[in-house]
Symmetry: C2
Subunit: 315 residues, 2 copies
């Protein structure tokens, strides 16, 4: 039977799934830690190979592999330029290594982009020709479908969606540049805001056990009415509205999908988002027929997207 293999490489775990060529239901799946507990010196590349090998079909009939990796990837070369969460992953020709090892066509792509692809093909975005997908978690990533095709760019490093300047004198982003959308609306942005506001506050006045509360802790404090926590989400939602309005003006999509942990907090962030979005669009036509949806594939988006991506690119 003809198969394809989808791989989702994260900083913590690597997952690989084997699919019949024409089925969404995997016939084998495995998950292993990215860093081997037995031997931490084993490279993440070898762990990827190990995970793929573990689900390789007995008949050996694999048409192609697609791997989703976190970070900046020169898609056309199959080259991981930089994956900050995986030790040593800088300029790793992962596509070439896997393709030589397994002897089949192998594609590498950014995990958020493949999650967007998955939502487009099998999730909340089915049927839309113009679609934005944003994953709001520690960072702010995503993927974009325009004219029924995924935006990747000349070498594949397009749709670094969180790295657009919204306020050129604004906070430093994790990437080292100032005032990016990600620095305002991501979990990291929310946490930094609260941490800065807690400076000098007596422990008795703070609802947190730590000076560096996490986004879920801040969300709980906001639900309990702690003003600084509420402000943190209001600010994140305000900039979420500005960022999305920018993208609406560029793409005029008919669907926007939100995934990622921060988007799970609900109205804490989406009420200020909706207000800000209405205020920042050039005219209401941009939002009149716009479907704003939550992602449907959850943690499987990367695997599903990888499977769909290679399926669509078999010869």
């Amino acid at each position: 039977m003809d198969h394809i293999i989808a791989v989702d490489i994260g900083g913590t775990n690597i997952r690989a799934a084997l699919f019949p060529r024409d089925s969404d239901t995997h016939s084998a799946i495995n998950k292993i830690p990215t860093v081997s507990p037995q031997d931490p010196a084993i490279s993440a590349v070898d762990r990827v190979i190990e995970c793929i090998s573990s689900i390789w079909p007995k008949d050996g009939n694999v048409l192609g592999i697609c791997a989703a990796a976190p970070g900046s990837i020169a898609v056309k070369e199959g080259l991981v330029l930089l994956a900050p969460n995986i030790e040593g992953w800088e300029n790793i020709p992962l596509g070439q290594i896997l393709s030589e090892k397994f002897g089949v066509k192998t594609l590498i792509n950014n995990d958020a982009r493949l999650a967007a692809y998955g939502e487009w093909k099998k999730g909340a975005g089915i049927g839309y020709e113009n679609l934005l997908y944003f994953t709001v978690s520690t960072g702010l990533g995503g993927g974009i479908i325009a004219n029924g095709d995924v935006i990747q760019g000349d070498i594949g490093i397009a749709t670094e969606v969180g790295h657009i300047v919204l306020h050129d004198k604004g906070n430093r982003c994790g990437c080292g540049l100032d005032g990016h959308w990600e620095a305002f609306s991501s979990g990291t942005g929310i946490e930094n805001y609260v941490r800065n506001r807690l400076v000098g506050m007596s422990a008795a006045d703070s609802p947190f056990d730590s000076e560096t509360p996490t986004t879920p802790q801040i969300a709980a404090a906001a639900s309990d009415g702690f003003p600084i926590a509420i402000e943190a989400f209001e600010r994140a939602g305000y900039y979420l509205g500005i960022g999305v309005s920018n993208y609406l003006h560029i793409f005029n999509p008919s669907c926007v999908i939100f995934g990622g942990g921060v988007s799970q907090v609900g109205e804490l962030i989406f009420t200020p988002f909706q207000e800000s979005l209405k205020k920042h669009v050039l005219n209401l036509r941009y939002i009149e027929n716009l479907a704003i949806k939550m992602a449907e594939l959850g943690d499987n988006a990367g695997l599903v997207g990888s499977a769909e991506y290679i399926r669509d690119r078999l010869d």
Copy 2:
């Protein structure tokens, strides 16, 4: 002989050109003022019809018309939502009117987007699959090619390229919203900056005859070393770099083309632009193989783009 007709509608003039289906060389062309000097009450729509009629071929063999209009256009409906420079042009179903009048397929599109299309097909952008075109003049418009296709969006109001927030507390844009790229880097942005800096300055200290100098006058003063004029272009160029870096992160194109009057001032704006661009890209891969070019079609870009656009969409 089979023909197509291209029309470029501006606030000042309307131009129409007749092309053989398979030739870039027009066989007839006409230009008339948008507002009739004889009878200013004649509507701009009637003037468009008059201009098209004046070049209609004797054999009547026209396969299609494409008209470029300034403003926001719901392309799929052929509806001019708003063209601020043309009196009364709000919700004008121009596509339907022309198609009923002339009995041929008629497409309407934004002039800057069609100029981008023209540069892509016949000008500085030939052969690029991923291309940004920015026209920097009174406003800041443009068009985008991604995956070898023009970005238009769900109803056609995509690529309002100048209307992205670069500084959410920034200057008011012509559209009424704050901190848009256009408010920083367009001719209007440059003029507003200088006008504000001239407030309270004695006439003896100003090189300008007026308190509201034009962009060409400001460019001349900058060349003569007047600091405020130099600063105005440095600021515009700085934000030009930020805006373009945002678009590089979204599209990872291999070519950026600049058109429009302000881009004619040369290094006054492009030296600070280049410095800012290098500073604001996530990494140098975005600019390593990036061709940065000046538009080649000049005032003909809209007509050429219209002709190419309809040519590519004949059944």
